[in-house]
């Protein structure tokens, strides 16, 4: 589904990613862990096409297509979803209007008929129940005045509405209390199936108690320095990132 080869990227002139290689297949959950500044969020943003991040080398194919040929909105419509670390507020734009536009843009891209207002509201009710989001939130402007936890839940709700084939969750666990973390994780688990894949970007092993990864990768100084099964997360939690540094001989 996703193949990243020898990827290099810069932010504000500074090299952040220095040769990433990663393959993600349908049905898999990958966790990308690493200390602050290792390039985790950069990788997530490069995948989604944020123009503040400049790719200097390498290739990424998504569903067999060159991702750099696609604008961010096309990537989204191809099925790539980014749950933002810091979801953005859009004053005056209602969640309903925002999501109805998003859902219908996805449908148009797939040559499907746009949803009627009634069908859309029905879909929204179903998904709201699924991710246990407060129904009041969808009556407000996009993320405006939402608490940190509400914003993260709202990201998962949008993911449920858009049913991506590849979901990238950028630090979705940060700022969540245990209850919210459980709700968010439940949502992600419910949305998981054999046809889609998930990339979890996180500092902590805590999230992985709820969403169990098939693979764990350690990102350090712009490169994936270690990959293994879920047991790697426990090892990291126990020994800290210094252990990796030592292993690398630093």
């Amino acid at each position: 589904m996703l193949v990243i080869k020898d990827l290099y990227a810069k932010v504000e002139g500074k090299d952040i990613l220095k040769g990433i290689n990663l393959t993600v297949n349908a049905g898999e959950v990958h966790a990308i862990m690493g200390p602050n500044g290792s390039g985790k969020s950069t990788l997530a943003n490069v995948l989604a096409g944020n123009t503040n991040f400049e790719v200097t080398h390498g290739s990424i194919t998504f569903n067999g297509k060159d991702i750099f040929e696609m604008s961010p909105d096309v990537r989204a419509k191809e099925g790539l979803f980014l749950s933002f670390q810091y979801p953005v507020e859009i004053p005056g734009v209602s969640m309903v209007n925002f999501l109805k536009t998003a859902v219908n843009e996805h449908r148009k891209y797939r040559n499907e008929k746009e949803l009627s207002a009634g069908d859309f509201l029905k879909l929204m009710r179903e998904k709201k129940a699924m991710v246990q989001i407060d129904s009041q939130l969808t009556n407000r402007s996009v993320n405006e005045g939402f608490s940190g936890g509400e914003k993260k839940k709202n990201e998962i709700f949008q993911m449920a509405m858009l049913e991506p084939t590849l979901a990238i969750l950028d630090e979705t666990d940060s700022g969540l209390d245990i209850d919210a973390l459980r709700i968010v994780s439940n949502g992600v688990n419910l949305l998981k199936n054999k046809n889609n894949a998930t990339i979890l970007v996180t500092h902590y092993q805590r999230l992985l108690d709820y969403i169990v990864p098939d693979f764990v990768h350690v990102l350090y100084e712009g490169r994936i320095v270690k990959s293994a099964g879920k047991e790697l997360a426990f090892e990291l939690e126990e020994k800290g990132y210094d252990w990796i540094k030592k292993e690398l001989g630093e």
């Binding site: 989604a48 123009t51 961010p72 933002f84 507020e89 859009i90 004053p91 858009l162």
Partner: protein, 481 residues
Amino acid sequence: MEDQNKLIHEVTQRDYRFGFVSDIETDTIVKGLNEEVIRIISAKKDEPEFMLEFRLKAYRRWLTMKMPEWAQLKVPVIDYQEIIFYAAPTQQAKYESLNEVDPELLRTFEKLGIPLEEQKMLSGVAVDAVIDSVSVKTTFKETLAERGIIFCSFSEAVKHHPDLIQKYLGMAVPYNDNYFAALNSAVFSDGSFVYIPKGTRCPMELSTYFRINAQNTGQFERTLVIADDDSYVSYLEGCTAPMRDENQLHAAVVEIIALDRAEVKYSTVQNWYPGDKNGKGGIFNFVTKRGICKGVASKIFWNQVETGSAITWKYPSCILMGDNSVAEFNSVALTNNHQQADTGTKMIHIGKNTKSTIVSKGISAGHSSNSYRGLVRVAPKAENARNYSQCDSLLLGDTCGAHTFPYIEVGNSSSIIEHEATTSKIGEDQIFYCNQRGISTEDAIGMIVNGYAREVINKLPMEFAVEAQKLLQISLEGSVG
């Protein structure tokens, strides 16, 4: 940023979507302005003596006046001897049904997406369609007449209700008020007249579509709305104009008189030709709009969404004379390419316990300049007056300008004036967030701008609100900041 600027540049490539010329025969007089021309206009319209005198008085005064230069605008020199001051469609007959109306005219409205027929059948809006300077078709007049409501062209009002005209014409905007008001008073050709009798609530939105049509014809509309004691009316004014190469002067006057406890809501959606992407052509719009809250507890609301015109000079204002009177000004002004706008309002508090609210939302893109100019004046006797002003500017890109010129003059110590102002740019992060949900950059900008303007758009009547949203989107397609 590079990419963003490229996208902004792309917006300037867009051409005016509503630009077309309708092929209707027009009857015009020779170009130029002198007393003789004014006498001809008055004679053509078969006006009573007092109207001719009003016009001549205004003309003589205008000759002594100078064009105002205090606005943040660059206005080319206007040669008044090159302008034709009167044009009327040759078919002047009044029709029994829409079938008799020139089909070309009906098609014009259809192209604009505002078919008269549908307006009439579906929305219950009485439409007084103005193409160029003479009212061609007035609908619903009979229904309105049953309630004693007068809604007709200004010329008809002069003929049939001269007493009302004589009493109220120039009350809010005197003939010598300013350069453009004096010019309008001298040469205005037609417009709309509304009178709502005592205790009457107008059962439908009254609507006029202005349209500038004949080439090189300055358009000088005159609108007078009178709401008698305890009455209510909502008036809609909407405009689009065909594409032109030459600049066209437009100097309208709108007067509103609200008597005791009367309420008038005046809504405008304006989309005149703004000129091409290089700033060539476009309408010059110098408008004087003013309402008087003459009666106690009377209310006047100006609501407007403006996206058009090459140059806009416009300050819909209120004089709050009656004690406890209320006035509001809610505005969205969008400028793109080389458009220039100097707009705002004046709230003059004279009565006690008067209250005014100003919400101004400026949106600038391209190489445009967008200024807000507002005056809040509280007279010494206007005890306990209140004003709240909110003045926001949104910038798209780094080649446009936004300016704010608030003037506040308070003559007593019991009044409370609040002023808030913000300036922001559309965030790249907001656009990226929308993109990531599958929404294209163009749609994202339309959505964000409409969200920004929502507070004002919500004040518009439903059908106008929809039109306004589309306009904002169309006017900014491809633009990013």
